[in-house]
Amino acid sequence: MENKSLELKMVFEGVEAEKLQPEAANKAGWPVSGNTSPWEPGQSSARRGHRAERQGVLPKGLPVLAVVGSIGVFCIAGCSTLPVADVTEGGTELHTQVASKDGLSIGVAPLKEKDLLIKYFGVDLRKQSILPIYITIDNQSGASFLFLKNQASIALKGHQDTREHEQLDIPIEERKPTEGDYAAAAFFGGLAGALTLDLEGDSGRAIRHNILAKRLNTDTLSPSEHRSGFLYFHVPKEIEDTYILTIKFMNLETEETASVEFQGELLP
């Protein structure tokens, strides 16, 4: 144990010594013979350290510095937070398409731009094959409607065919993707409901929390009510096709279901 901590100190020392010029090193009390640094290029840090130990010139204060540095690194790595913004409606940065049906006014804005994804989610979700779409719904009718989150779907129109893509289903329990998920992803070409995002750890948990907090959920819209939020779809990042987004509603009185379609390009 003692040897290990000594070795760690020496590795730390070796790295620092490389950065110092001989004169500066001399001033700082580092071992310098003439104008030549004792550290020769190509030598491993540990070996350099052993030489330093033999010479008995381990600089004082470095162990303390190492411990303080380690605590600092631990704090930064283990306590990540995501300073993310909330979407302010009426802003110009989201390119929204608007459509109306049965007195409902619906706006959709797929978030494809990296800077906007980082602004709202703290991470480039497109890299994780997730496409967030911001939805706003205004009920300007005199009836009540039920927005059906699970029936919203996206299809990508490629050169040859049109394929449906699933909504991101965030499991209640935090978990890492299992081998079965990867197998399913490989089998379905990555389009199945396999979770590609590692949602464990501090940063993963922060991303998951943010995704959930901003999600548009199944809800009743009474007359003159407004709802907004994101829906998330599994769309591989390399796909740049045309998308067709379908949003569904049910009139609570008549139980009739209506749908609204939006079409756009996935290219940012």
């Binding site: 937070t81 209640i172 935090e174 501090d202 929390h209 959920n217 009743t220 609570l252």
Partner: protein, 201 residues
């Protein structure tokens, strides 16, 4: 004697190493206050409240730095649901799916479902803990026609020191549950859909 010390030292080392490797599981019971009703309006309907085992025994677990924390939320959710429904409707009857719900006399059936839960801890920094609980309420008539679906989010943010993370986190979860029930009460009391049903009966 020395041999004994070496042996017990090794044993202790193994136990310590094992606990570092596999971590421990901590169980937390979360308590919440009864919903804060902003209005005294009672929905003039009798309700059958369907409480499933999934909802009433729900546990949220998270792993952090090798340790597993299990939060027993179900019992609190269930108790608060019964209490809130009792205050919101004229009469309530608690039902379970296994007990059969067809022959019941209630005007409407209310089923809560825990959609998601999330807890985010920012250790060592002053940002504290964020908790999020999402509950979906579905109200149907006796024939299964959906009258109302409301998804309610309870969000809470608490701040504490680096050495009181457990307390700060449990308080955040507890406050998030409080908000779920306060928001749910508001949603039921202000629902024009439920008023329409009551008028029609």
């Amino acid at each position: 004697m020395i041999m004994m010390n070496i042996k017990s030292g090794r044993l202790l080392g193994c136990v310590l190493f094992g606990s570092l490797l596999f971590g421990c599981t901590h169980h937390h019971m979360i308590e919440a206050s009864p919903a804060n009703l902003q209005s005294s309006y009672v929905v003039p309907l009798s309700a059958g409240v369907i409480l499933t085992a999934d909802y009433c025994s729900y546990e949220f677990s998270m792993r952090r730095q090798g340790e597993t924390h299990v939060f027993h939320l179900g019992e609190t959710l269930c108790t608060n649901t019964k209490k809130l429904m009792g205050e919101l409707f004229t009469t309530i009857e608690v039902l379970s799916l296994s007990g059969g719900i067809k022959d019941r006399k209630a005007d409407v059936l209310v089923s809560p479902k825990l959609v998601d839960a999330s807890v985010q801890v920012n250790r060592w920094r002053s940002e504290g803990v964020d908790a999020l609980i999402i509950v979906e309420w579905t109200v149907t008539d006796r024939n299964g026609k959906v009258l109302l679906t409301k998804t309610v989010q309870g969000k809470a943010h608490t701040v504490g020191g680096p050495f009181s993370v457990d307390k700060t986190r449990n308080r955040a979860i507890s406050l998030a549950i409080d908000e779920v029930f306060s928001e749910s009460a508001k949603a039921f009391q202000q629902s024009i859909e439920l008023r329409k049903v009551a008028r029609a009966l």
